[in-house]
C-alpha cells in the first residue's frame, strides 16, 4: 500500500476535477497519464479526444452516459475510452459535479484485469472509492456541489 493525497485539477462553476498523487511520486497520476501519450505519434490524437471530452464536461457536468463503467457495480470507477484505439483514462465519478481522474493506458487485452498496470490503476481507484465512502459515512468528508470538503490533509492508503 502507498499513501496518496487528492489534488484539485480544475474548478468551474458547475464542476470540480481532481486527481491523486502517491507519496513516492513527484507527479500526479493525471500528469503521469498525459506524459505517457502526449508525444506519442499514434496516441496523441486519442489523448486530445479524452482531454477535450473532459473540457466539455467541466461546463456540462460529468453525466453517467459519458463514461464506461469499470470495476464493480457497487463502485464509481469508470473509464473515459477511445474505443478504436483502446486508450482509457480511469476515473472515480463521485457525482455529476465531482470527478477524480487517475491513470490509464491502452487496453489491448480482453479485460483490464489481464493487464497488470491497468488493473493496478482500477484497484487504486476502487480502494479510494471505498475509503472516501467510509469517510463520507462517518462525517469526516463531504461532497458540496463541486468540492470535496475535509480532504486537505488527508492521506489514503491505496
Amino acid at each position: 500500500m502507498t499513501k496518496a493525497t487528492i489534488l484539485s485539477l480544475e474548478q468551474t462553476e458547475n464542476t470540480g476535477l481532481f486527481t491523486i498523487i502517491f507519496e513516492d511520486e513527484n507527479q500526479s497520476e493525471f500528469v503521469r497519464f498525459v506524459n505517457k501519450f502526449k508525444d506519442d505519434a499514434v496516441r496523441k490524437n486519442d489523448l486530445r479526444i479524452i482531454l477535450n471530452q473532459i473540457d466539455t464536461m467541466l461546463l456540462k457536468g460529468f453525466e453517467e452516459r459519458r463514461f464506461r463503467p469499470e470495476g464493480k457495480m457497487s463502485d464509481g470507477v469508470a473509464a473515459l475510452p477511445v474505443y478504436k484505439s483502446g486508450l482509457r483514462l480511469y476515473c472515480l465519478r463521485m457525482s455529476d459535479s465531482v470527478l477524480i481522474v487517475g491513470n490509464g493506458g491502452v487496453k489491448d487485452t480482453k479485460t483490464y484485469q489481464e493487464d497488470e498496470d491497468l488493473n493496478g490503476y482500477v484497484i487504486s481507484l476502487q480502494k479510494l472509492d471505498a475509503l472516501l465512502k467510509a469517510d463520507i459515512k462517518n462525517g469526516l468528508v463531504r461532497i458540496e456541489k463541486t468540492e470535496i470538503i475535509g480532504i486537505d490533509d488527508k492521506e489514503y492508503d491505496l
Binding site: T5, I6, L9, V34, I49, N52, Q53, R65, R66, D152
Partner: protein, 91 residues
C-alpha cells in the same frame, strides 16, 4: 486544498493545441449525443429499445451516447427514424 498546477497547465496546453477540425468533430459528436439522450428521455425509451429498433447492440448505443463517437450518415438516419425526429438539420 493542494493544487495540481502541472496537471492544469498540461491539460490546458493540450486542449488549446487541439486542431480546430478535431474540436469541431467532437462538438458535433457531443451535440448529437446530447440530443439523442434528451429524445430518449422525452420518449421514455431505453437504450435497449433503441438498440433493438436500430439493429445494433446496447454497447453500441452506449458508445453513441458517450459524446465522442464518429457517426456515419447511415447510422444517423437509423437513429433518427427510431426516435421519430431528425438528429441533425442541415438547412
Amino acid at each position: 486544498m493542494k493544487q495540481d498546477l502541472e496537471g492544469r497547465k498540461l491539460f490546458r496546453q493540450i486542449v488549446d493545441e487541439t486542431p480546430a477540425e478535431l474540436k469541431m468533430q467532437l462538438r458535433f459528436s457531443d451535440s448529437i449525443a446530447e440530443k439523442m439522450d434528451s429524445l430518449l428521455k422525452e420518449r421514455g425509451m431505453s437504450q435497449r429499445e433503441l438498440a433493438k429498433s436500430t439493429g445494433k447492440t446496447e454497447a453500441e448505443v452506449s458508445r453513441w451516447l458517450g459524446g465522442t463517437h464518429n457517426f456515419t450518415l447511415r447510422t444517423l438516419a437509423k437513429i433518427s427514424i427510431a426516435l421519430g425526429e431528425d438528429l441533425i438539420t442541415v438547412c
